[in-house]
Assembly symmetry: C2
Homo-oligomer: 353 residues x 2
DNA sequence: TTGTAGGCGTTATCAT
DNA sequence: ATGATAACGCCTACAA
């Protein structure tokens, strides 16, 4: 009775190639590596390449990493892949990393500090050469510590106060300006802001930008018209709007901190029989997918997420290539996407202005 | 003038720990590894652990992998992370892998065969211990080849004909049955199917299931009411519905191959001034996010994506632990989510039934 | 231009 | 129970 089991042949190594080509492993190594290939006789090189090809040789990146102390990997720290904000960023990152021979380890933190620590730790132990961090906390001892330890990193969608770290963000200031100007152009004078968590850098930036825009355009400056949401979520958005409405505040339009908060408003409209945009206009932020299919299609500020990702990856690769290079930060311009959730204020409301 | 540059100390190695603890590196290794710790004197072990702790020793996974030929990583092959279908699957996978000490490399293929080949190749060269494959082609020489080579893998959301591979899928048959029964219950007799690409296993399964369900319920069996979409996309869904409408076919409801195809129908309704569900009912498939916010909120078949991911990861870990274990396949039950895109057929239409 | 030798950090095997 | 030794696959001074 013969053995039927499939015999898994060990993957060919450099030695196998060298043996087949009749040269020393060192020579084979040089021939296979484009950077050192010029050191070896062209004929020899050809012979080695052919030998490698013929047995399907693939260099073992583990062994190479052990020797060179480089892994060609970077860590990608995001809050939650299920948030539609992040996949385009991830794609942007990967599309830059891949041609450069790098790959990304993705970890989710669920916005949990402890989880973030352990995940980053696991990335470090995997010897990533750098970190792209897209979690949103405004200040975080972890980042300061990593920075002190000389970990190369790039921030995405956030800045950290007091730390000179490269970052790629949308120009939130300009984006909010666009949103407010759009509403003002429609005739709105009393506009509310459902701000994102003020523990996040984007939450703070957008809230400040809102105040500036209101002032610049000479609209109603009323602190009562600014409410903070505890999370960037629909439920929090709904909650905030309910509170605002119940407080008896007088406003005809809402600039939401992001699209999810804006969609939360839709729930309140449904509850209270309000019509959007007739009774209330709403602008979101981010341009997440399928907004055009919503009821009503949501007017929003579009942020180039894919580009944010690709720029971040480029920044990180630059830092890896030249650690001395000073930290740059990049800000990308958003644009306005006008849909059906915004319109002129109702006559009865506009009258107050 | 003193040097200001931060001196990056080399990470402590096993030798450092051993030296500090006054033992041989081999002993330190045994003490540090829970599996071999019983081999060493309890006191010695404590000493080693303390030493490791004190200098912040982290084992180098690269070196370990080189020695053990195990990487504790698996490859995750998906078409496109941007498709909202996949992030929950990925989370399900990661939430099982992480506690087991494994991590996943994610690659996108964009449904491109060549890209899939190179991506899988890159995963293999990174020495992943197994593959979870969520790309949708029904037959693919690549998979057969990988299987022959003994690569451990689990299929997600698909089966491959003639190959005995473990897989985790939703019970598409049952799901489509649910959808058709729901429409039949509302009084629809002439139901169309906008099928997904018949090059994908889900596309085929759902189309067949549709035919069976129609027959079982004694509804109108009309080949003209089945149309194939070239992709699982909104535009293809819109295209298919337009063609169907233009052909003069008589139907009051649509079972779409997936949610995107269903949403494509919405575009056609808007174009032609049709009202959903009054003029036409639509059911989607998958329960992608934010369907409740659509106009109208989409009735759909909900598939437990997260669970699909976690089951797939479990299957793969099982295979890795025991390669001899026969391939199991798992089918998860879908459920109906009734929203506002389905209703009774209009009286004028229902009359034909 | 090519070969030699040593080592990256860890673990498996053998010997003590 | 611990130590010595070698090896995983690759790269790179250095020597020839």
């Amino acid at each position: 009775m013969t053995a039927h089991k499939i015999v898994r042949m060990a993957a060919p190594t450099l030695r196998d190639v060298a043996q087949l080509a009749g040269v020393h492993p060192a020579t084979a190594s040089r021939a296979l590596n484009p950077a050192t290939r010029p050191l070896v006789n062209a004929d020899t090189a050809r012979k080695v390449l052919r030998a490698a090809e013929s047995i399907g040789y693939q260099p073992n990146p583990i062994a190479r990493s052990l020797k060179t102390a480089r892994t060609s990997t970077v860590g990608l720290v995001i809050p939650d892949l299920t948030n539609p904000l992040f996949p385009p960023i991830v794609r942007g990152i990967e599309d830059v990393l891949t041609p450069a021979g790098y790959s990304a380890w993705i970890v989710n933190t669920d916005n949990d500090l402890a989880r973030e620590e352990t995940q980053v730790e696991s990335l470090r132990s995997r010897q990533v050469e750098g970190l792209i961090i897209a979690t949103a906390r405004r200040e975080h001892p972890l980042l300061a510590r990593l920075h002190r330890q000389g970990i190369k990193m790039v921030l995405v969608n956030r800045r950290v106060e007091g730390l000179d770290l490269p970052s790629v963000t949308a120009d939130d200031d300009a984006g909010i300006g666009l949103a407010v100007a759009h509403l003002a152009g429609l005739g709105h004078r009393r506009i509310a802001h459902l701000a994102g968590p003020q523990t996040t850098s984007t939450g703070v930036t957008r809230a400040r930008a809102f105040q500036h825009a209101i002032r610049d355009l000479g609209l109603a400056e009323d602190p009562a018209l600014m409410v903070e949401c505890g999370y960037w979520s629909e439920t929090e958005g709904a909650l905030a709007l309910r509170n605002l409405l119940d407080s008896g505040a007088d406003f005809t339009a809402v600039v939401a901190g992001n699209d999810l908060i804006a969609l939360g408003c839709y729930d309140v409209f449904a509850e209270r029989g309000m019509s959007c945009p007739d009774d209330m206009s709403v602008v979101g932020f981010n341009e997440m997918p399928f907004l055009d299919k919503m009821n009503p299609p949501l007017t929003t500020v579009s942020v180039p997420h894919y580009d944010i990702g690709s720029e971040a990856a480029r920044l990180l690769l630059d830092t890896i290539d030249d650690p001395e290079r000073p930290a740059r930060s990049i800000m990308l311009a958003p644009s306005m996407v006008v849909r059906a959730s915004t319109g002129p204020p109702a006559a009865s409301q506009g009258a107050t202005a």
